[in-house]
């Protein structure tokens, strides 16, 4: 991991930098327009309603791929902030269930780490629109926690 990224993560934890800066480093996160909200120590990720992310113009509904990318990126940021000594999370696999149509409205996501090992992180991600109890998608993913300087 680069020193500049380590420094940014540290600054975010100390409240000296905005968590959004960590998100906005990632070009694809900006492409989707991902935002995040911190309440106490809870992180909620937001994919604001955006016509660029539409997959079905008739419904209209969000592109399933945009929702999946949003959830994967949410998990990556979540892991980065959870690790004592941060390493770069690289996606090993990502599995998603589509439960309801992603309507053309704001989408929210939360992550839960099932296990954080030295090399592997197991994460569960849930995304919803109307209410948290009615997820539109749930996903399970594994990340390799890489020591490499990239």
């Amino acid at each position: 991991m680069t020193e500049s990224l380590k420094a940014l993560i540290k600054a975010c934890r100390q409240g000296k930098a905005d968590y959004q800066d960590l998100m906005d480093r990632v070009p694809y996160a900006r492409f989707l327009g991902i935002e995040l909200r911190v309440q106490g120590e809870e992180l909620t990720f937001i994919l604001p309603k955006n016509p660029e992310n539409i997959g079905n113009p008739t419904l209209p509904a969000l592109h399933g791929g945009a929702v999946a990318g949003f959830m994967e990126q949410a998990a990556i940021i979540f892991i980065l902030l959870e690790m004592g000594e941060p390493k770069v999370p690289k996606t090993i696999d990502f599995t998603i269930d589509y439960l309801r149509a992603g309507l053309f409205r704001d989408t929210f996501a939360e992550c839960r780490i099932t296990r954080l090992g030295r090399r592997i992180a197991n994460v569960h991600i849930s995304a919803w629109q109307k209410r948290r109890e009615e997820p539109i998608t749930i996903a399970r993913a594994h990340f390799l926690l890489s020591e490499e300087n990239n």
Binding site: V26, P27, Y28, R30, I54, G65, A68, N150
Partner: protein, 156 residues
């Protein structure tokens, strides 16, 4: 009915779906071929699709979005000349290794089983020009079939 009597090809169907799906167009996706056995779809490397700004590697989510769309097109190719919409039920992708920054990727998607209500799709993505070598990602997915009438309404 032979294929030659149908006024549109599988390629037309796939291109039509790309035209209407704004997000896939934004990703810069391109259909390279569309046959009964499946489709080949290309995703360019682009700076705004990068997942790791320190390496320039494409985001797994961008590869996922392209593959999910390719799976839908594989369904269209299998269902041709009929047209149905096929929402994704479940999709699993394995990222076998990172594609080289600056290189486009190409996905092959095949619907290998079609039932009354469900399609089963297998997908493999390679770096462009290395389609004989190690894939960068493989995926398995299921989709549900929704038949629509000529006005685009779901009938079953």
């Amino acid at each position: 009915m032979t294929d030659s009597n149908i006024p549109y090809t599988r390629m037309d169907v796939c291109n039509r779906s790309l035209e209407t799906v704004k997000h896939s167009r934004n990703l810069g996706m391109e259909v390279l071929s569309a046959e009964e056995e499946g489709v080949r779809v290309r995703l360019p490397w682009r700076e705004d699709l990068v997942g790791n700004p320190d390496t320039g590697v494409l985001h797994g989510g961008a590869i996922f979005a392209m593959m999910d769309q390719a799976g839908g097109m594989a369904n269209s190719c299998r269902l041709y000349p009929n047209f149905e919409i096929t929402p994704t039920i479940d999709f699993r992708v394995d990222h076998l290794h990172a594609p080289t920054p600056g290189k486009a990727v190409v996905c092959h998607a095949t619907c290998y089983r079609l039932t009354d209500h469900v399609t089963f799709v297998r997908l493999t993505t390679w770096e462009e020009g290395k389609e004989e070598g190690e894939p960068v990602a493989t995926a398995l997915a299921t989709y549900t079939r929704m038949k629509i009438d000529k006005n685009g309404r779901v009938v079953s």
